[in-house]
Subunit: 238 residues, 2 copies
């Protein structure tokens, strides 16, 4: 029965592959069909991973927010928001996916396979989210939390350190770029006091936002930073 | 000691108020200072609720996604995304906050208080998120899940029913409006077959997105629905 042998050997290869992947994830699925569904792109089957991706995206956002809240007690909401956005963006997720060699396990339609789908950023990122969603279903939120914290351990530590050291002007620029808004314009609107005790007042405007904030400081640069910090707060509130 | 009596009576009034609120939330804080922080607007103190709001927003997004995934097995990712967005938007959160009478418990600066801050949508919504974040810290994610599911019980049931019945054209329109994009334009690009066995091909274009999808169907309307469904998927992927 060569046909049967062939099927059984293929299936056993796949089982071995899935076991390897579970080793890399350091998570053993109770229901391996959830892992297989998470690996299935919509180009492959009608039963695909998009619903799991929806769930995993939310789990990931929560776990990262919760970790940053605890790890970065000195960072304000705007900085936490920026760091989280950088950690969960598609490029970062695709890097994490490549780090565990996710590409080789994907189930893609033949068109996607031939056009390099295994290396495509969006497919890798979405599949990683789907796996996080599958672990949440299979083992609960604490199992998903452990997985996310393992996968993002170094990036969480680095991002916290970088985010804390960035000045408000850089953070504002990134925030506005992330929302496809124009860059801010700073302008000195007042200079008070004698030469050695001067206070600068700087306005910060963002075209298209109808928002102006002001900042004060003993140098133009310090006043700009304060105006930028006020604008970050205003944009986050808007 | 009239001064001391007055302070003690104010503090005890506040304790009574916080107990009433915890009754309405059906959650008793181990550390009541977390609840007080969640109720504190940045116009009131330097120690305010914005970091808790960041955390609570993520908890809320996760709990709602998890509930929708389980409750709505027949809905695809795009529909789940739309329903979740409607449930966690500021207007809905403010309604939920008003439903538990949150306004009277807020700690606002005098400017905000005098200008109607207790009724302001953004303040009510943000404070509700901060409370969800505080419960997550105080009692863990399962306590926060119970709170969110209690607060959103009816809305979750209604939204699922409404979302499932909406056709793809309506859902696409809402999705694009939510992203401040132009409305889609549908155009019949081919009509094949004899009069009683006709197949329509319709294109769907969204200006500013550089995306075109097509749909087929036995009527123009059916083809439009399929083109809209494909556009929803494309926009979600983008």
């Amino acid at each position: 029965m060569p046909y049967c042998r062939s099927v059984s050997s293929t299936s056993s290869n796949r089982d071995q592959a899935l076991n390897r992947l579970q080793g890399r994830l350091d998570y053993q699925f109770k229901d391996a069909r959830l892992l297989e569904l998470a690996l299935t792109h919509k180009s492959h089957s009608r039963a695909h991973n998009e619903r799991l991706e929806f769930l995993g995206d939310a789990v990931l956002g929560y776990v990262i927010a919760d970790a940053l809240y605890d790890d970065q007690p000195s960072l304000a909401e705007d900085a936490l928001t920026l760091i989280r956005a950088a950690l969960v963006q598609k490029d970062t997720l695709a890097e994490v996916a490549l780090g565990i060699g996710l590409g080789e396990y994907l189930r893609l339609g033949s068109g996607e396979r031939k056009s390099g789908g295994r290396q495509r950023t969006s497919i890798l990122a979405d599949t990683l989210e789907a796996i996080i969603g599958a672990v949440n279903l299979d083992g609960g939120v604490e199992a998903a939390r452990s997985l996310v914290l393992r996968l993002f351990e170094e990036r969480l530590a680095e991002a916290g350190a970088r985010g804390a050291s960035k000045d408000p002007k850089t953070r504002l620029q990134e925030l506005l770029q992330g929302r496809a808004l124009a860059l801010p314009v700073y302008e000195v609107v007042a200079t008070l006091g004698s030469e050695h005790q001067r206070t600068f007042t700087v306005s910060c405007q963002v075209r298209g936002l109808a928002l102006t904030t002001t900042g004060h400081g003993s140098s133009r640069r310090a006043a700009e930073k304060n105006a930028a910090a006020a604008m970050i707060a205003a944009v986050e509130r808007a």
